[in-house]
């Protein structure tokens, strides 16, 4: 059953961090910018957990908590307070308010999850496998050579998708007796850290699975890759045909 988490903080940054922390779990995260919005939303969605900042405009976390505890429909919802202040007096006040748990900023997402797990049972989200369409966006077969073509711009969602698809494709290749791969970078328009990291991951994944891999790219890209320590030694072919011929 998908749990509902309500994140109430005037900082969009903190709300993003909270949302990201719960991403791996079967949770739906709702957001509010202040205590008043939070109270309204809590009444509508009846969350299983509230992550509540203390210092906010319009209505503070303390004010909201008082109203929450006064509402029979909402008073039993567990609350984790977020505070930027770790002093003794602040902690005592939080405990007196009957708050099950609190976290002091700065905090890591894992710490929030650890606290949340003391009050609700989080279930890891079952990852849906990438679709055939997604695989076809990147992979194609040229004879007995698997070609992995990267898009023009490499950003985090692309990195995650390609890494997941590559793991599946490597298993398929092993079962099918294929052991040759070409990494086609001719369409990549921008060299950035994500690209470098992805190239390394692809090469290492293939190496671990005894898959022979060749890299194809443009002259410009080849020059740019030479300026990064991690990719400076990788031989870059200029065409797919060159790469095929080199196996």
């Amino acid at each position: 059953m998908t749990l509902k988490v309500l994140s109430i903080d005037d900082s969009k940054t903190i709300r993003m961090i909270v949302k990201k922390a719960f991403k791996a779990f079967d949770c739906e995260v709702f957001e509010a910018e202040n205590g008043l919005e939070g109270l309204t939303l809590a009444g509508k969605v009846l969350p299983d957990l509230i992550v509540l900042d203390i210092t906010m405009p319009v209505m503070t976390g303390v004010e909201m908590l008082e109203k929450l505890k006064a509402d029979p429909a909402l008073r039993s919802i567990p609350v984790i307070m977020l505070t930027a202040e770790s002093g003794k007096d602040n902690v005592l006040n939080i405990v007196k308010m009957g708050v099950q748990n609190y976290i002091v900023k700065p905090f890591k997402g894992e710490q929030l999850i650890e606290r949340a797990q003391t009050v609700i049972k989080l279930e890891t989200k079952v990852e849906e496998g990438p679709t055939e369409d997604a695989s076809a966006r990147y992979f194609s077969l040229e004879g007995n050579v698997q070609v992995l073509t990267l898009p023009a711009k490499i950003i985090r969602p692309v990195v995650v998708e390609v890494e997941n698809l590559l793991k599946i494709k490597v298993e398929e290749m092993k079962k099918g007796g294929l052991n040759r791969c070409i990494l086609n970078l001719t369409g990549v328009a921008e060299t950035n850290v994500s690209l470098i990291k992805l190239i390394i991951t692809i090469l290492e994944t293939c190496q671990r699975s005894s898959i022979h891999i060749r890299v194809v790219g443009t002259a410009t890209l080849s020059t740019e890759l030479k300026s990064f320590q991690e990719t400076s030694e990788i031989p870059i072919r200029m065409t797919i045909e060159d790469a095929m011929g080199s196996f």
Partner: protein
């Protein structure tokens, strides 16, 4: 006043800044006194929080845009190029100021100087200078990482 003058602000600020950078950004920040540091120029952002009670003052984090974008990307778990707007960067800097200020406020309270913290404010631009007057103590620190620097300034006075 004696309490204020005896406060080890350097330890407070270094501990707060290094802790925030390490926990939220997974960055190693080298924090030192800003003696001789020429200051920042160009487009920059300043996040400020104030505190008031038995001690009054403010603490500000001043940071150039390129460093601010790198910090925002680290905080949000993204690449620099994925940052969609300056507003996201401003919010991150404001939140970092809030955390540094909050930790400092806790240390002041534990040192017997209770006070309350304001919500953070953000100033951005290229042609401005920060000056605070009437304070009993002020300290300025440089926070450096990978060749980029930010300035943390604190001004305090008794209530």
């Amino acid at each position: 006043m004696g309490d204020l003058m005896a406060l080890d602000l350097k330890t407070f600020v270094v501990g707060s800044v290094e802790g925030v950078f390490d926990t939220m950004l997974s960055m190693e920040a080298s924090v030192s006194q800003a003696d001789g540091f020429p200051g920042l120029s160009g487009e920059r952002i300043v996040g400020t929080v104030s505190f008031a009670g038995q001690v009054m003052g403010n603490i500000s984090l001043q940071i150039g845009i390129p460093f601010a974008r790198r910090v925002a990307a680290a905080m949000l778990g993204m690449e620099d190029t994925e940052i969609e707007s300056q507003e996201e960067v401003n919010d991150v800097i404001g939140e970092l100021s809030n955390m540094i200020g909050g930790d400092l406020k806790s240390r002041l309270c534990d040192a017997g100087l209770p006070c309350q913290l304001s919500i953070p404010s953000i100033t951005s631009g290229s042609d401005f200078k920060i000056e605070s007057r009437g304070w009993v103590r002020s300290e300025r620190f440089v926070c450096a990482n990978q060749g980029q620097s930010a300035i943390v300034e604190i001004f305090i006075k008794p209530a």
